[in-house]
């Protein structure tokens, strides 16, 4: 074990170096650029055996990944924002063909107006594509989840592509001390990729990507949904094995001071770091505040979120993406559907859309959200269901 000063991007690259995938097909885009840049240097310097395919677009990047993974090669890539948007149709193909590609997604706002900074609009749009999504709080998590994602995606009962997300610039370009596992240990942990009947198995020829009409398409989409449900069942064991390997304590969600909490914030990614600080501040004042961080967003950890929130008096759900025409952001609707269909007792849950286009989520906003949530707890009613934090309305 050693500690390196790394940005989120370089932490992703370091995990990719240790995984040493057979193929990486990628196109650089801000703020993911440094992943592709640094990994290209590693490939050029002979630090990895990877076949690096510099493609002409993200559509081609994901298409090359599909071909490569189907051929039987362990394949990785990375993207952001407009790049993920350009990959769109191929994202669904990768999932539908059940190809365990692992991708780093450095979350960034979507145009227009053009913006290069971090929010979750890109990743949230892909939440129903059949990709497993893991949202990381910091560079350390990016590094570790990047390694674990290989085992998640390639698990014989899962076989779904997996996206490891981090906040653009906030995480991707901030340098942290990152604890790095030994190369040999990571190599042993990820193991050898052994696909079942890949396309290059010429002794057992097969076809992938054939048309399916009204008679079979539905069965295969059902299979994919089942695989996502199976992933939910398998993930606790995968996390347990990874924690044993890494000495960490990761899970599908992370609870902070939730045991006796009366009010809480539920959020994803880097905002959780600041929120934890405000929880401590409120605890010092005798307020029973807590935080739920959702690490695995797809499959959505329904049981874990319900168990963590069941004794609350009020909850605020933070969304770094808007869902324009729905009643609140994507995380909010998931949380409400989980809580209100599993608990007999109803308590106020409100939504805060924040941080679009990389706008800071600062301490003052979090204090305000906690204050309003405390008011909701006191009255037992939601004062305002969908709120916007930090925008000049």
């Amino acid at each position: 074990m050693k500690t390196l000063a790394l940005t989120g991007d370089h932490a992703a690259t370091e995990s990719m170096r240790q995984i040493n995938p057979d193929v990486v097909a990628a196109y650089p885009i801000t703020p993911q650029t440094e992943i592709v840049m640094a990994f290209s240097q590693m490939a050029a310097n002979g630090l990895v055996d990877t076949e690096l395919i510099p493609v002409e677009s993200e559509h081609s990047a994901m298409s090359a990944c599909v071909g490569s993974q189907a051929a039987g090669a362990r394949t990785m890539t990375a993207t952001s924002s407009q790049g993920l948007a350009l990959m769109w149709e191929v994202l669904y193909i990768a999932a539908g063909l059940r190809l365990p590609i692992v991708m780093h997604c450095v979350n960034r706002a979507l145009s227009a107006p053009i913006n290069i900074h971090g929010d979750h609009s890109d990743g949230m749009g892909a939440r129903d594509s059949g990709w497993i999504q893991i949202y990381c709080e910091n560079a350390q998590e990016v590094y570790e989840m990047g390694i674990m994602a290989i085992r998640v995606a390639e698990h014989s009962k899962i076989l779904l592509p997996t996206m490891v997300c981090q906040d653009g610039f906030i995480t991707s370009h901030a340098i942290e001390g990152v604890n790095i596992l030994d190369d040999a240990d990571v190599k042993k942990y990820v193991g050898e990729y052994k696909p079942e009947q890949p396309l290059l198995d010429i002794k057992n020829p097969s076809t992938l990507g054939a048309i399916e009409l009204q008679d079979y398409y539905f069965e295969h989409r059902y299979q994919m949904a089942e695989a996502m449900r199976e992933a939910k069942r398998q993930l606790p064991a995968i996390f347990a094995e990874f924690n044993k390997f890494s000495g960490k304590n990761f899970n599908l969600i992370d609870k902070y001071k939730m045991d006796d909490a009366e009010v809480a914030i539920l959020a994803l990614s880097s905002t959780c770091g600041t929120a934890r600080m405000i929880v401590d501040e409120l605890r010092d004042k005798g307020i029973k505040a807590g935080l739920v961080k959702v690490t695995v967003y797809r499959p959505f950890p329904v049981e874990e979120v319900v168990a963590a929130c069941k004794n609350l008096k009020a909850l605020a759900v933070l969304d770094r993406a808007d869902s324009c025409a729905a009643q609140g952001g994507p995380v909010f609707t998931d949380v409400c559907s989980a809580i209100y269909t599993n608990l007999d007792r109803k308590f106020p849950v409100s939504n805060y859309i924040y941080g679009l286009g990389g706008r800071d989520m600062d301490e003052a906003q979090l204090r305000n959200i906690f204050n309003e949530t405390l008011e909701n707890a006191k009255s037992g009613k939601v004062k305002k269901l969908v709120n916007y934090s930090g925008v000049r309305i």
């Binding site: 057992n204 992938l208 295969h220």
Partner: protein, 91 residues
Amino acid sequence: MELKNSREIPIGGKIILAGNAEEYNTGDWRTFKPVIDHGKCTNCLFCWIYCPDSSILVKDGKVTGVDYKHCKGCGICAEVCPRKCIKMEKG
């Protein structure tokens, strides 16, 4: 063909056996079927060359009939027949 459920089929729509398209009964897509008048046929094999579904049956250089399990009834054989000895009939 009896339809299988989601647990009985390979994942990801993979077809694990080569050449099994033959088992697919495309003949039931058909509205009109080609009927050959063997009395007028000169075995020029134009129909055999043009058939997009390899459904003209030939033995020892002679047209013996039509594979109705796979013939979709497109009518190309009737169109290209220089002797006009293929008729498209309902069925």
